[in-house]
Symmetry: C2
Subunit: 327 residues, 2 copies
Amino acid sequence: MAVYTDVAADELAEFLNQYDLGDLLSYKGIAEGVENSNFLLHTSKGSFILTLYEKRVERNDLPFFLALMTHLAEHGINCPLPVKGRDGEALRELAGRPVAIITFLEGVWPRKPNAMHCAGVGEVLAKMHLAGANFAIRRVNALSVSGWRPLFDQAAARADDVQPGLRAFLAAELGHLESGVWPTNLPEGVIHADLFNDNVFFLGDQLSGIIDFTFACNDMLAYDIAICLNAWCFEADHSFNVTKARAFLNAYGRVRKLTEAEEASLPLLARGAAIRFLLTRLVDWLNVPPGALVKPKDPLEYVRKLRFHQSVSSVRDYGLMPSGLVA
Amino acid sequence: MAVYTDVAADELAEFLNQYDLGDLLSYKGIAEGVENSNFLLHTSKGSFILTLYEKRVERNDLPFFLALMTHLAEHGINCPLPVKGRDGEALRELAGRPVAIITFLEGVWPRKPNAMHCAGVGEVLAKMHLAGANFAIRRVNALSVSGWRPLFDQAAARADDVQPGLRAFLAAELGHLESGVWPTNLPEGVIHADLFNDNVFFLGDQLSGIIDFTFACNDMLAYDIAICLNAWCFEADHSFNVTKARAFLNAYGRVRKLTEAEEASLPLLARGAAIRFLLTRLVDWLNVPPGALVKPKDPLEYVRKLRFHQSVSSVRDYGLMPSGLVA
């Protein structure tokens, strides 16, 4: 939860004159989003989200995020649509920060996802991958295999304070993933890279949209699937729920069929996705600033997930019949 | 900013079945309110605030707050209206906590109040005092003069760590206020007792409503005025702005004329109001729990305000002509 930067009412009303959004009725800082300051606006034209991008977000990346949301929305994906000012620009400045307004997406994110939710996520992820195929701008994934060593180096010295033996465990896994096993020949495209349950909205049983593209980038599509396996298919006690995984993978496969090479790589990609979140959480855990407004997430959850993926021998263990056969 | 308790989507949807509020469209934890967890709900019937009352709020007080809002709304005050369930009850339970839904009030609170805002506050405060006159339920003010000594006792030992000499300064002031000077014969009624700028909403230049009655109680009406003098009429550098005070007091007086005794007591009441906020802030400042989500407010702001009120000799220093003459 976070509002790092407050905005004065008169300053905001003045700012809104640059848009065709009617009169400002109210704005509330909302306790979602860890990286940026977000406000829910009511204007006489409807509801919107105002985001002030804080320093952890690269300003150069913002045009990518905004253009991607516009592209996906225009290609049938329910996601927030950036609102352009009267001059045609969506990216502006307010309170000394880059800022954008996007449409507000109704829906609630599932605190306790079930297999139905997982199927919805599989379907929308595959549709997003197809919709992103002809998106022109590119953004490198800074948190793929080459990005993990620097995170490890930041955390290594104090890793065993979090859990005895964690440093050696991470070093061994990282050594393995860096040893040339990481795939390079899988289908690539735009991935969301952070499609956790708080980024997927439902209205009743129906998925109503996906949000938060601040980690989106170009990478292997199957890596996005691996991230979702980690994000959606474990229980609160960190046990793997194969029913959820099967629902997720089958729903994905009905929209975009996985190649055999993607299927074969999935256990390894899932290990990579697990260590990626393990490392970023560990760095955050070890670097909580005094007076932090955001409670860091437990990195050890991902130690257990990683151990599970290490034990997987094929996609059968994720509930998928190899070669894309629907179970 | 605070959301202490999260609510699962299915749990909330189920809970809403007890009301005639239509379908749940979305809910966002909002970063306002220090004591409780607040969510902005969108349903097919409109926008609402869901409050989960956390442990600092006395459960026995909740019927008072909810009945008061209903009473004031029915008597022409723009404030949130508690929404009753199908069984006629507004106070219910969710996630193990007492909870209520109130209507959402559009409007923005002024981050930098000017004299126009202060006049709006004066008018609405007087109207609220009149509207509360025939409200039947009573609630003692736990934070009046008899409530300050226990706060002082909690903070005294470490007060000088915050500012050298603070303990003696507080002891002397408290001794004076407890010496029999505190008035007992002024007009009483329902007071808001916390009408700071984040509790007053405006749409353009017009005051659109007042919120947050969790400190409301029965006490001298002029004590509410004294609180507002502290809350609205000082600049960011803690200097007193007599133009704002005059606008506030004159607007109040046009709706409800102050008695001579109230005018004469105002400097003393303002000292009391200053030490009340000084002491609660000091106790909070000295007792920030590790991992706190709320940054405590600076108690020393109220040392400077209190010194100002100590220097005041009559309401003339607040910009008011004695005997209620409009300046």
